[in-house]
Amino acid sequence: MRRPAATARLGFVLAAPLILVAALALGAAIGETSIDLDVVAKSVANRLWDAGYAVDPIDEGIVWNYRLSRAIVACCCGVTLALSGVVLQALLRNALADPYILGISAGASTGAVAVAILGFGAGMLSLSLGAFVGALVAFGLITLLARRAGSGPGAIILAGVAGSQLFNAITSLIVTRSANAEQARGIMYWLLGNLSGVRWDDAWLAVPAALLGLLVCLFHARALDAFTFGAESAASLGISVRRVQAVLISVAALMTAVMVSIVGSIGFVGLVIPHAARLLVGVRHGVLLPVSALTGAVFMVVADVVSRTIIPGQVVPIGVITALVGAPAFALILIRGRHVQ
Protein backbone atom coordinates (compact mmCIF):
# COMPACT_ATOMS: atom_id res chain seq x y z
CA MET A 1 0.00 0.00 0.00
CA ARG A 2 1.68 3.19 -1.17
CA ARG A 3 1.15 6.44 0.67
CA PRO A 4 -1.55 8.74 -0.72
CA ALA A 5 -0.30 10.55 -3.77
CA ALA A 6 0.67 14.19 -3.64
CA THR A 7 -2.50 15.05 -5.55
CA ALA A 8 -4.65 13.57 -2.77
CA ARG A 9 -2.79 15.68 -0.23
CA LEU A 10 -3.19 18.79 -2.37
CA GLY A 11 -6.89 17.97 -2.72
CA PHE A 12 -7.26 17.85 1.04
CA VAL A 13 -5.39 21.12 1.53
CA LEU A 14 -7.73 22.79 -0.97
CA ALA A 15 -10.92 21.09 0.19
CA ALA A 16 -10.45 21.52 3.95
CA PRO A 17 -10.95 25.32 4.03
CA LEU A 18 -13.99 25.00 1.77
CA ILE A 19 -15.53 22.37 4.04
CA LEU A 20 -14.78 24.53 7.08
CA VAL A 21 -16.35 27.60 5.49
CA ALA A 22 -19.42 25.58 4.49
CA ALA A 23 -19.77 24.26 8.05
CA LEU A 24 -19.41 27.76 9.50
CA ALA A 25 -21.97 29.13 7.04
CA LEU A 26 -24.48 26.44 7.97
CA GLY A 27 -23.77 27.03 11.65
CA ALA A 28 -24.58 30.69 11.13
CA ALA A 29 -27.66 30.05 8.97
CA ILE A 30 -29.48 27.35 10.93
CA GLY A 31 -31.17 28.17 14.20
CA GLU A 32 -34.41 29.15 15.80
CA THR A 33 -34.85 31.84 13.17
CA SER A 34 -33.30 30.43 10.06
CA ILE A 35 -31.35 32.91 7.97
CA ASP A 36 -30.69 32.49 4.25
CA LEU A 37 -27.13 31.66 3.25
CA ASP A 38 -26.86 34.73 1.03
CA VAL A 39 -27.88 36.91 3.98
CA VAL A 40 -25.17 35.18 6.02
CA ALA A 41 -22.61 35.88 3.29
CA LYS A 42 -23.69 39.52 2.96
CA SER A 43 -23.65 40.07 6.72
CA VAL A 44 -20.12 38.71 6.96
CA ALA A 45 -19.03 40.82 3.98
CA ASN A 46 -20.57 43.91 5.61
CA ARG A 47 -18.68 43.32 8.83
CA LEU A 48 -15.38 42.30 7.28
CA TRP A 49 -15.10 44.69 4.37
CA ASP A 50 -17.82 47.30 4.91
CA ALA A 51 -19.43 45.93 1.76
CA GLY A 52 -22.61 47.90 2.39
CA TYR A 53 -25.13 45.25 1.38
CA ALA A 54 -28.70 45.96 2.45
CA VAL A 55 -29.33 43.40 5.17
CA ASP A 56 -31.80 43.45 8.06
CA PRO A 57 -29.62 44.71 10.94
CA ILE A 58 -31.20 42.19 13.30
CA ASP A 59 -30.25 39.31 11.02
CA GLU A 60 -26.78 40.74 10.62
CA GLY A 61 -26.47 41.03 14.39
CA ILE A 62 -27.55 37.44 14.93
CA VAL A 63 -25.14 36.14 12.29
CA TRP A 64 -22.13 38.19 13.34
CA ASN A 65 -22.45 38.69 17.09
CA TYR A 66 -24.07 35.46 18.02
CA ARG A 67 -23.87 32.55 15.61
CA LEU A 68 -20.62 33.02 13.73
CA SER A 69 -18.44 33.52 16.80
CA ARG A 70 -20.17 30.53 18.33
CA ALA A 71 -19.58 28.38 15.23
CA ILE A 72 -15.91 29.38 15.13
CA VAL A 73 -15.44 28.46 18.78
CA ALA A 74 -17.27 25.16 18.10
CA CYS A 75 -14.82 24.47 15.25
CA CYS A 76 -11.81 25.20 17.44
CA CYS A 77 -13.27 23.06 20.16
CA GLY A 78 -13.67 20.14 17.73
CA VAL A 79 -10.13 20.62 16.41
CA THR A 80 -8.49 20.73 19.83
CA LEU A 81 -10.45 17.87 21.35
CA ALA A 82 -9.86 15.63 18.32
CA LEU A 83 -6.13 16.44 18.28
CA SER A 84 -5.86 15.83 22.02
CA GLY A 85 -7.55 12.48 21.51
CA VAL A 86 -5.19 11.44 18.70
CA VAL A 87 -2.13 12.46 20.70
CA LEU A 88 -3.22 10.75 23.92
CA GLN A 89 -4.26 7.57 22.11
CA ALA A 90 -0.90 7.38 20.33
CA LEU A 91 1.32 8.21 23.30
CA LEU A 92 -0.54 6.05 25.82
CA ARG A 93 -1.19 3.38 23.16
CA ASN A 94 -4.73 3.18 24.42
CA ALA A 95 -7.77 3.25 22.13
CA LEU A 96 -9.93 4.66 24.93
CA ALA A 97 -7.73 7.64 25.80
CA ASP A 98 -9.39 11.05 25.56
CA PRO A 99 -9.07 14.19 27.69
CA TYR A 100 -12.54 13.70 29.17
CA ILE A 101 -12.16 10.02 30.09
CA LEU A 102 -8.66 10.55 31.50
CA GLY A 103 -9.91 13.26 33.84
CA ILE A 104 -7.92 16.05 32.18
CA SER A 105 -11.11 17.98 31.45
CA ALA A 106 -12.28 17.49 35.03
CA GLY A 107 -8.96 18.80 36.33
CA ALA A 108 -9.18 21.77 33.99
CA SER A 109 -12.72 22.48 35.24
CA THR A 110 -11.50 22.45 38.82
CA GLY A 111 -8.68 24.82 37.92
CA ALA A 112 -11.01 27.18 36.08
CA VAL A 113 -13.63 27.14 38.84
CA ALA A 114 -10.97 27.78 41.45
CA VAL A 115 -9.93 30.88 39.54
CA ALA A 116 -13.51 32.01 38.82
CA ILE A 117 -14.88 31.61 42.32
CA LEU A 118 -11.94 31.76 44.68
CA GLY A 119 -10.68 34.60 42.51
CA PHE A 120 -7.02 33.87 41.88
CA GLY A 121 -6.69 36.76 39.44
CA ALA A 122 -9.44 37.50 36.97
CA GLY A 123 -10.21 37.57 33.27
CA MET A 124 -10.26 35.02 30.50
CA LEU A 125 -6.52 34.39 30.35
CA SER A 126 -6.21 33.60 34.03
CA LEU A 127 -9.26 31.37 33.77
CA SER A 128 -7.47 29.42 31.01
CA LEU A 129 -4.26 29.44 33.00
CA GLY A 130 -6.08 28.00 36.01
CA ALA A 131 -7.60 25.37 33.75
CA PHE A 132 -4.16 24.56 32.30
CA VAL A 133 -2.65 24.07 35.73
CA GLY A 134 -5.65 21.96 36.75
CA ALA A 135 -5.31 19.85 33.58
CA LEU A 136 -1.60 19.18 34.16
CA VAL A 137 -2.09 18.37 37.83
CA ALA A 138 -4.90 15.98 36.92
CA PHE A 139 -2.84 14.22 34.24
CA GLY A 140 0.16 13.94 36.57
CA LEU A 141 -1.94 12.49 39.34
CA ILE A 142 -3.68 10.05 37.04
CA THR A 143 -0.49 8.72 35.40
CA LEU A 144 1.02 8.29 38.86
CA LEU A 145 -2.04 6.39 40.03
CA ALA A 146 -2.07 4.28 36.86
CA ARG A 147 1.59 3.39 37.33
CA ARG A 148 0.86 2.28 40.89
CA ALA A 149 -2.24 0.38 39.78
CA GLY A 150 -0.12 -1.81 37.52
CA SER A 151 0.27 -2.40 33.83
CA GLY A 152 -2.40 -3.19 31.28
CA PRO A 153 -4.46 -0.82 29.17
CA GLY A 154 -7.25 -0.70 31.76
CA ALA A 155 -5.14 0.86 34.52
CA ILE A 156 -4.95 4.39 33.13
CA ILE A 157 -8.65 4.40 32.19
CA LEU A 158 -9.65 3.36 35.71
CA ALA A 159 -7.26 5.94 37.14
CA GLY A 160 -8.94 8.47 34.85
CA VAL A 161 -12.36 7.53 36.19
CA ALA A 162 -11.13 7.90 39.76
CA GLY A 163 -9.44 11.21 38.90
CA SER A 164 -12.56 12.56 37.17
CA GLN A 165 -14.67 11.75 40.21
CA LEU A 166 -12.16 13.37 42.54
CA PHE A 167 -11.85 16.58 40.55
CA ASN A 168 -15.60 16.83 39.95
CA ALA A 169 -16.09 16.48 43.70
CA ILE A 170 -13.54 19.20 44.40
CA THR A 171 -15.27 21.43 41.84
CA SER A 172 -18.65 20.84 43.49
CA LEU A 173 -17.12 21.55 46.89
CA ILE A 174 -15.68 24.86 45.72
CA VAL A 175 -18.97 25.80 44.07
CA THR A 176 -21.17 24.89 47.05
CA ARG A 177 -18.86 26.49 49.58
CA SER A 178 -18.12 29.74 47.88
CA ALA A 179 -20.56 30.55 45.10
CA ASN A 180 -23.91 32.24 45.44
CA ALA A 181 -26.99 30.56 43.97
CA GLU A 182 -26.83 32.34 40.64
CA GLN A 183 -23.10 31.69 40.18
CA ALA A 184 -23.65 28.06 41.11
CA ARG A 185 -26.37 27.57 38.50
CA GLY A 186 -24.27 29.26 35.84
CA ILE A 187 -21.24 27.14 36.63
CA MET A 188 -23.14 23.87 36.75
CA TYR A 189 -24.61 24.64 33.33
CA TRP A 190 -21.18 25.56 31.98
CA LEU A 191 -19.64 22.38 33.38
CA LEU A 192 -21.95 20.30 31.20
CA GLY A 193 -20.33 21.81 28.15
CA ASN A 194 -22.10 24.80 26.79
CA LEU A 195 -21.57 27.24 23.92
CA SER A 196 -24.21 29.74 24.99
CA GLY A 197 -22.72 33.09 25.79
CA VAL A 198 -19.70 32.51 23.56
CA ARG A 199 -18.62 35.76 21.89
CA TRP A 200 -15.76 37.08 19.76
CA ASP A 201 -13.46 37.50 22.78
CA ASP A 202 -13.63 33.75 23.20
CA ALA A 203 -12.91 33.13 19.54
CA TRP A 204 -9.74 35.24 19.78
CA LEU A 205 -8.50 32.86 22.44
CA ALA A 206 -9.78 29.65 20.83
CA VAL A 207 -8.42 30.19 17.31
CA PRO A 208 -4.75 30.69 18.29
CA ALA A 209 -4.94 27.73 20.69
CA ALA A 210 -6.32 25.47 17.96
CA LEU A 211 -3.80 26.66 15.35
CA LEU A 212 -0.85 26.34 17.70
CA GLY A 213 -1.99 22.87 18.73
CA LEU A 214 -2.42 21.80 15.13
CA LEU A 215 1.04 23.03 14.16
CA VAL A 216 2.81 21.39 17.09
CA CYS A 217 0.99 18.10 16.52
CA LEU A 218 1.70 18.10 12.77
CA PHE A 219 5.35 18.81 13.49
CA HIS A 220 5.41 15.63 15.61
CA ALA A 221 3.42 13.45 13.22
CA ARG A 222 6.33 11.09 12.50
CA ALA A 223 7.22 10.89 16.17
CA LEU A 224 3.64 9.82 16.90
CA ASP A 225 3.91 7.15 14.18
CA ALA A 226 7.07 5.89 15.85
CA PHE A 227 5.10 5.11 19.02
CA THR A 228 3.15 2.41 17.15
CA PHE A 229 5.18 -0.33 18.84
CA GLY A 230 5.67 1.47 22.14
CA ALA A 231 8.03 3.94 23.74
CA GLU A 232 11.10 1.67 23.67
CA SER A 233 10.63 1.07 19.96
CA ALA A 234 10.14 4.82 19.39
CA ALA A 235 13.42 5.46 21.19
CA SER A 236 15.22 2.94 18.98
CA LEU A 237 13.84 4.82 15.95
CA GLY A 238 15.56 7.98 17.14
CA ILE A 239 12.71 9.69 19.01
CA SER A 240 13.53 11.58 22.21
CA VAL A 241 10.68 9.88 24.01
CA ARG A 242 10.61 12.03 27.15
CA ARG A 243 10.76 15.30 25.23
CA VAL A 244 8.06 14.31 22.75
CA GLN A 245 5.81 13.06 25.55
CA ALA A 246 6.31 16.24 27.58
CA VAL A 247 5.69 18.57 24.63
CA LEU A 248 2.66 16.77 23.24
CA ILE A 249 0.96 16.09 26.56
CA SER A 250 1.46 19.73 27.56
CA VAL A 251 -0.03 20.83 24.26
CA ALA A 252 -2.99 18.47 24.66
CA ALA A 253 -3.50 19.76 28.22
CA LEU A 254 -3.23 23.37 27.03
CA MET A 255 -5.74 22.87 24.22
CA THR A 256 -8.14 21.08 26.56
CA ALA A 257 -7.70 23.76 29.21
CA VAL A 258 -8.40 26.66 26.85
CA MET A 259 -11.55 24.96 25.59
CA VAL A 260 -12.73 24.02 29.07
CA SER A 261 -12.29 27.62 30.21
CA ILE A 262 -14.49 28.78 27.32
CA VAL A 263 -17.13 26.09 26.91
CA GLY A 264 -16.79 23.69 29.84
CA SER A 265 -15.86 20.04 29.55
CA ILE A 266 -17.30 18.40 26.47
CA GLY A 267 -17.02 14.65 26.49
CA PHE A 268 -16.25 11.94 23.95
CA VAL A 269 -15.28 14.16 20.99
CA GLY A 270 -11.63 13.36 21.57
CA LEU A 271 -12.50 9.68 21.65
CA VAL A 272 -14.91 9.32 18.76
CA ILE A 273 -13.43 11.64 16.14
CA PRO A 274 -9.95 10.04 15.96
CA HIS A 275 -11.52 6.59 15.56
CA ALA A 276 -13.84 7.81 12.82
CA ALA A 277 -10.91 9.50 11.08
CA ARG A 278 -8.82 6.30 11.32
CA LEU A 279 -11.59 4.39 9.58
CA LEU A 280 -11.51 6.99 6.81
CA VAL A 281 -7.78 7.49 6.23
CA GLY A 282 -5.85 4.94 8.29
CA VAL A 283 -3.35 5.31 11.09
CA ARG A 284 -0.60 7.51 9.63
CA HIS A 285 -0.48 10.65 11.78
CA GLY A 286 0.61 12.91 8.93
CA VAL A 287 -2.84 12.30 7.45
CA LEU A 288 -4.76 11.32 10.57
CA LEU A 289 -4.09 14.57 12.45
CA PRO A 290 -5.43 17.02 9.83
CA VAL A 291 -8.38 14.77 8.95
CA SER A 292 -9.25 14.36 12.65
CA ALA A 293 -9.03 18.11 13.14
CA LEU A 294 -11.34 18.79 10.21
CA THR A 295 -13.80 16.05 11.18
CA GLY A 296 -13.83 17.31 14.77
CA ALA A 297 -14.52 20.86 13.63
CA VAL A 298 -17.42 19.87 11.41
CA PHE A 299 -18.81 17.47 14.00
CA MET A 300 -18.86 20.16 16.68
CA VAL A 301 -20.57 22.72 14.46
CA VAL A 302 -23.23 20.13 13.60
CA ALA A 303 -23.57 19.11 17.25
CA ASP A 304 -24.01 22.77 18.17
CA VAL A 305 -26.73 23.24 15.53
CA VAL A 306 -28.48 20.11 16.83
CA SER A 307 -28.20 21.32 20.43
CA ARG A 308 -29.87 24.60 19.46
CA THR A 309 -32.66 23.13 17.38
CA ILE A 310 -33.55 19.68 18.80
CA ILE A 311 -35.92 21.11 21.43
CA PRO A 312 -37.75 24.17 20.08
CA GLY A 313 -37.23 27.22 22.25
CA GLN A 314 -34.50 25.60 24.32
CA VAL A 315 -30.78 25.02 24.06
CA VAL A 316 -29.51 21.65 25.19
CA PRO A 317 -25.91 21.77 26.49
CA ILE A 318 -23.67 20.60 23.65
CA GLY A 319 -21.95 18.15 26.01
CA VAL A 320 -25.22 16.27 26.21
CA ILE A 321 -25.34 15.88 22.43
CA THR A 322 -21.71 14.73 22.17
CA ALA A 323 -22.24 12.26 25.00
CA LEU A 324 -25.35 10.85 23.31
CA VAL A 325 -23.23 10.11 20.24
CA GLY A 326 -20.01 9.36 22.09
CA ALA A 327 -21.07 6.96 24.82
CA PRO A 328 -22.37 4.28 22.39
CA ALA A 329 -19.22 4.76 20.30
CA PHE A 330 -17.15 4.21 23.44
CA ALA A 331 -19.00 0.93 23.98
CA LEU A 332 -18.37 -0.12 20.37
CA ILE A 333 -14.64 0.58 20.65
CA LEU A 334 -14.55 -1.38 23.90
CA ILE A 335 -16.17 -4.40 22.24
CA ARG A 336 -14.03 -4.21 19.12
CA GLY A 337 -10.89 -3.79 21.21
CA ARG A 338 -11.61 -7.13 22.85
CA HIS A 339 -11.72 -8.84 19.47
CA VAL A 340 -8.43 -7.30 18.39
CA GLN A 341 -6.73 -8.62 21.49
Binding site: A235, S240, R278, G282
Partner: protein, 262 residues
Protein backbone atom coordinates in the same frame (compact mmCIF):
# COMPACT_ATOMS: atom_id res chain seq x y z
CA UNK B 1 31.76 0.75 13.42
CA UNK B 2 32.67 -0.57 16.86
CA UNK B 3 31.06 -0.37 20.27
CA UNK B 4 33.05 -0.41 23.48
CA UNK B 5 31.48 -0.88 26.89
CA UNK B 6 33.71 0.05 29.82
CA UNK B 7 32.80 -0.71 33.44
CA UNK B 8 29.09 -0.52 32.63
CA UNK B 9 26.77 -0.78 35.62
CA UNK B 10 22.99 -0.67 35.65
CA UNK B 11 20.91 -1.13 38.78
CA UNK B 12 17.25 -1.73 39.45
CA UNK B 13 15.83 -1.55 42.95
CA UNK B 14 19.33 -1.12 44.40
CA UNK B 15 20.44 -4.44 42.91
CA UNK B 16 22.98 -4.47 40.09
CA UNK B 17 21.40 -5.97 36.98
CA UNK B 18 24.54 -5.29 34.94
CA UNK B 19 27.68 -5.40 37.00
CA UNK B 20 30.88 -3.81 35.69
CA UNK B 21 30.80 -5.18 32.19
CA UNK B 22 33.56 -4.41 29.71
CA UNK B 23 32.91 -5.64 26.19
CA UNK B 24 34.11 -4.64 22.73
CA UNK B 25 32.02 -5.32 19.66
CA UNK B 26 34.24 -5.62 16.62
CA UNK B 27 33.21 -4.30 13.21
CA UNK B 28 31.27 -6.78 11.03
CA UNK B 29 31.26 -9.51 13.66
CA UNK B 30 28.22 -11.49 14.79
CA UNK B 31 28.35 -11.39 18.56
CA UNK B 32 26.00 -13.68 20.44
CA UNK B 33 24.96 -12.90 24.00
CA UNK B 34 23.84 -15.96 25.93
CA UNK B 35 22.95 -16.60 29.52
CA UNK B 36 20.18 -17.98 31.69
CA UNK B 37 16.91 -16.13 32.25
CA UNK B 38 17.45 -12.94 34.21
CA UNK B 39 21.19 -12.85 33.56
CA UNK B 40 20.92 -9.35 32.09
CA UNK B 41 21.00 -9.99 28.34
CA UNK B 42 18.22 -7.55 27.46
CA UNK B 43 19.57 -4.89 29.85
CA UNK B 44 23.06 -5.15 28.40
CA UNK B 45 21.68 -4.82 24.87
CA UNK B 46 19.63 -1.76 25.89
CA UNK B 47 22.71 -0.16 27.45
CA UNK B 48 25.01 -0.92 24.54
CA UNK B 49 22.52 0.40 22.00
CA UNK B 50 21.98 3.63 23.92
CA UNK B 51 18.34 2.96 24.80
CA UNK B 52 19.27 3.24 28.46
CA UNK B 53 22.02 5.26 30.08
CA UNK B 54 24.34 3.30 32.37
CA UNK B 55 24.49 4.25 36.08
CA UNK B 56 28.26 3.93 35.88
CA UNK B 57 30.78 3.34 33.11
CA UNK B 58 30.57 4.37 29.48
CA UNK B 59 29.47 2.97 26.16
CA UNK B 60 31.30 4.40 23.18
CA UNK B 61 30.34 4.20 19.52
CA UNK B 62 33.35 4.44 17.19
CA UNK B 63 35.37 5.85 20.07
CA UNK B 64 32.83 8.54 21.04
CA UNK B 65 30.62 8.23 24.12
CA UNK B 66 26.97 7.56 23.33
CA UNK B 67 26.10 10.44 25.65
CA UNK B 68 27.39 12.84 23.01
CA UNK B 69 25.08 11.51 20.31
CA UNK B 70 21.46 12.59 19.89
CA UNK B 71 18.85 9.82 19.84
CA UNK B 72 18.43 10.43 16.14
CA UNK B 73 22.14 10.13 15.40
CA UNK B 74 22.22 6.85 17.28
CA UNK B 75 19.18 5.54 15.42
CA UNK B 76 20.86 6.17 12.07
CA UNK B 77 23.68 3.86 13.13
CA UNK B 78 22.07 1.37 15.46
CA UNK B 79 18.82 -0.55 14.99
CA UNK B 80 17.23 -2.53 17.79
CA UNK B 81 14.70 -5.33 17.42
CA UNK B 82 12.88 -5.92 20.67
CA UNK B 83 11.73 -9.26 21.98
CA UNK B 84 8.01 -8.81 21.49
CA UNK B 85 6.85 -5.45 20.23
CA UNK B 86 3.13 -5.46 19.57
CA UNK B 87 0.51 -2.98 18.47
CA UNK B 88 -3.27 -2.80 18.41
CA UNK B 89 -3.15 -0.23 15.59
CA UNK B 90 -4.58 -1.38 12.28
CA UNK B 91 -1.36 -0.80 10.38
CA UNK B 92 -0.25 -2.75 7.32
CA UNK B 93 2.90 -4.83 7.11
CA UNK B 94 4.44 -2.24 4.84
CA UNK B 95 3.65 0.62 7.21
CA UNK B 96 5.38 -1.26 10.02
CA UNK B 97 8.53 -1.45 7.89
CA UNK B 98 8.22 2.20 6.80
CA UNK B 99 8.69 3.21 10.43
CA UNK B 100 12.33 2.22 9.98
CA UNK B 101 12.88 5.33 7.88
CA UNK B 102 11.94 7.59 10.85
CA UNK B 103 15.51 8.56 11.88
CA UNK B 104 16.29 9.59 8.30
CA UNK B 105 13.24 11.84 7.93
CA UNK B 106 12.02 14.93 9.70
CA UNK B 107 9.06 17.28 9.52
CA UNK B 108 11.01 19.20 6.90
CA UNK B 109 12.55 16.33 4.91
CA UNK B 110 9.64 14.47 3.39
CA UNK B 111 9.32 10.86 2.28
CA UNK B 112 10.90 10.22 -1.10
CA UNK B 113 10.92 7.55 -3.79
CA UNK B 114 14.28 6.42 -2.42
CA UNK B 115 12.60 5.59 0.88
CA UNK B 116 10.01 3.48 -0.95
CA UNK B 117 12.83 1.53 -2.61
CA UNK B 118 14.57 0.90 0.70
CA UNK B 119 11.32 -0.36 2.24
CA UNK B 120 10.66 -2.59 -0.79
CA UNK B 121 14.13 -4.08 -0.53
CA UNK B 122 13.80 -4.70 3.20
CA UNK B 123 10.44 -6.44 2.71
CA UNK B 124 11.89 -8.61 -0.03
CA UNK B 125 14.91 -9.53 2.04
CA UNK B 126 12.81 -11.06 4.80
CA UNK B 127 10.53 -12.72 2.25
CA UNK B 128 7.51 -10.59 3.14
CA UNK B 129 7.08 -8.62 -0.11
CA UNK B 130 3.82 -10.38 -0.93
CA UNK B 131 2.47 -9.57 2.55
CA UNK B 132 2.99 -5.82 2.22
CA UNK B 133 -0.70 -4.91 2.21
CA UNK B 134 -1.73 -7.31 4.98
CA UNK B 135 -2.93 -5.91 8.30
CA UNK B 136 -0.67 -6.43 11.30
CA UNK B 137 -3.25 -8.30 13.37
CA UNK B 138 -3.79 -10.88 10.61
CA UNK B 139 -0.13 -11.93 10.63
CA UNK B 140 1.43 -14.81 12.55
CA UNK B 141 4.06 -14.29 15.22
CA UNK B 142 6.80 -15.35 12.85
CA UNK B 143 5.63 -13.02 10.10
CA UNK B 144 5.53 -10.13 12.59
CA UNK B 145 9.06 -10.89 13.73
CA UNK B 146 10.32 -10.87 10.16
CA UNK B 147 8.69 -7.48 9.67
CA UNK B 148 10.46 -6.17 12.76
CA UNK B 149 13.73 -7.30 11.21
CA UNK B 150 12.74 -5.66 7.93
CA UNK B 151 12.00 -2.44 9.81
CA UNK B 152 15.45 -2.58 11.37
CA UNK B 153 17.01 -3.17 7.93
CA UNK B 154 15.05 -0.21 6.51
CA UNK B 155 16.75 1.87 9.17
CA UNK B 156 20.00 1.12 7.26
CA UNK B 157 22.04 0.74 10.41
CA UNK B 158 25.65 -0.27 10.70
CA UNK B 159 24.97 -2.18 13.87
CA UNK B 160 21.96 -4.37 14.48
CA UNK B 161 20.85 -5.45 17.95
CA UNK B 162 18.47 -8.39 18.09
CA UNK B 163 16.82 -9.48 21.33
CA UNK B 164 15.96 -13.16 20.95
CA UNK B 165 14.96 -12.63 17.33
CA UNK B 166 13.85 -16.18 16.60
CA UNK B 167 11.45 -16.65 19.50
CA UNK B 168 8.30 -17.08 17.46
CA UNK B 169 9.72 -18.74 14.40
CA UNK B 170 9.65 -22.31 13.20
CA UNK B 171 13.03 -23.93 12.68
CA UNK B 172 13.17 -23.15 8.95
CA UNK B 173 12.57 -19.48 9.58
CA UNK B 174 14.86 -19.42 12.62
CA UNK B 175 17.81 -20.59 10.56
CA UNK B 176 16.78 -18.51 7.56
CA UNK B 177 16.55 -15.34 9.59
CA UNK B 178 19.88 -15.77 11.34
CA UNK B 179 21.46 -16.60 8.00
CA UNK B 180 19.93 -13.49 6.44
CA UNK B 181 21.25 -11.29 9.24
CA UNK B 182 24.62 -13.00 9.06
CA UNK B 183 24.89 -12.48 5.30
CA UNK B 184 24.52 -8.70 5.55
CA UNK B 185 27.65 -6.66 6.00
CA UNK B 186 26.47 -5.57 9.40
CA UNK B 187 27.79 -5.71 12.90
CA UNK B 188 25.28 -7.86 14.76
CA UNK B 189 24.75 -8.24 18.48
CA UNK B 190 22.09 -10.84 19.24
CA UNK B 191 20.77 -12.23 22.49
CA UNK B 192 20.14 -15.88 21.74
CA UNK B 193 18.54 -18.66 23.69
CA UNK B 194 19.53 -21.57 21.52
CA UNK B 195 23.19 -22.34 22.15
CA UNK B 196 23.47 -24.43 19.00
CA UNK B 197 22.25 -21.51 16.92
CA UNK B 198 24.76 -19.33 18.71
CA UNK B 199 27.47 -21.86 17.88
CA UNK B 200 26.37 -22.04 14.25
CA UNK B 201 26.13 -18.31 13.46
CA UNK B 202 28.23 -16.35 15.94
CA UNK B 203 31.83 -15.29 15.48
CA UNK B 204 32.06 -14.78 19.21
CA UNK B 205 29.85 -15.54 22.17
CA UNK B 206 29.56 -13.52 25.36
CA UNK B 207 28.20 -15.44 28.34
CA UNK B 208 26.34 -13.51 31.04
CA UNK B 209 25.58 -14.79 34.50
CA UNK B 210 23.90 -12.63 37.16
CA UNK B 211 24.84 -9.44 35.37
CA UNK B 212 28.49 -10.35 34.89
CA UNK B 213 30.41 -11.27 31.78
CA UNK B 214 31.80 -14.70 32.62
CA UNK B 215 33.13 -15.83 29.25
CA UNK B 216 33.87 -14.30 25.87
CA UNK B 217 35.35 -15.91 22.78
CA UNK B 218 34.84 -18.18 19.82
CA UNK B 219 31.96 -20.67 20.23
CA UNK B 220 34.17 -23.73 20.60
CA UNK B 221 36.23 -22.00 23.29
CA UNK B 222 33.27 -20.71 25.24
CA UNK B 223 30.72 -23.51 24.98
CA UNK B 224 32.39 -25.99 27.27
CA UNK B 225 30.84 -28.64 29.44
CA UNK B 226 32.09 -26.89 32.57
CA UNK B 227 30.57 -23.55 31.52
CA UNK B 228 27.23 -25.21 30.70
CA UNK B 229 27.18 -26.85 34.10
CA UNK B 230 28.25 -23.73 36.01
CA UNK B 231 26.19 -21.07 34.23
CA UNK B 232 23.24 -22.88 32.71
CA UNK B 233 23.06 -25.67 35.29
CA UNK B 234 22.70 -28.39 32.64
CA UNK B 235 24.65 -31.49 31.92
CA UNK B 236 25.69 -31.57 28.30
CA UNK B 237 28.26 -33.00 25.98
CA UNK B 238 29.89 -30.64 23.48
CA UNK B 239 30.92 -32.27 20.24
CA UNK B 240 33.12 -30.75 17.58
CA UNK B 241 32.31 -31.40 13.93
CA UNK B 242 34.87 -31.46 11.13
CA UNK B 243 34.40 -27.78 10.21
CA UNK B 244 35.48 -26.49 13.56
CA UNK B 245 31.86 -25.94 14.63
CA UNK B 246 30.56 -27.36 17.85
CA UNK B 247 27.31 -28.94 18.86
CA UNK B 248 25.78 -29.04 22.31
CA UNK B 249 24.01 -32.27 23.21
CA UNK B 250 22.00 -31.93 26.39
CA UNK B 251 21.49 -34.73 28.86
CA UNK B 252 18.06 -35.25 30.41
CA UNK B 253 18.01 -33.67 33.88
CA UNK B 254 18.73 -36.30 36.51
CA UNK B 255 20.15 -38.95 34.18
CA UNK B 256 23.78 -38.12 34.84
CA UNK B 257 23.25 -37.96 38.57
CA UNK B 258 21.53 -41.32 38.58
CA UNK B 259 24.45 -42.79 36.69
CA UNK B 260 26.74 -41.46 39.35
CA UNK B 261 24.62 -43.02 42.06
CA UNK B 262 24.63 -46.43 40.46
Amino acid sequence: MTIQARGVVWRAGGRPIIDEIALDVVEHEFLGIVGPNGSGKTSLMALMSGLRAPHAGTVALAGRSLRHFTRREIARRIAFVEQQAETAERITARQAVELGRTPHLSALSPWQAKDDDIVDTALAEVGMASFAGRRWHTLSGGERQRLHIARALAQQPEILFLDEPTNHLDIHHQLGLLDLVRSRRLTVVAALHDLNHAAMFCDRIAVLDQGRLVALGAPRDVLTETMLADVFRVDAAVEADGNGNCLVRYARPGTVKEKCLQ
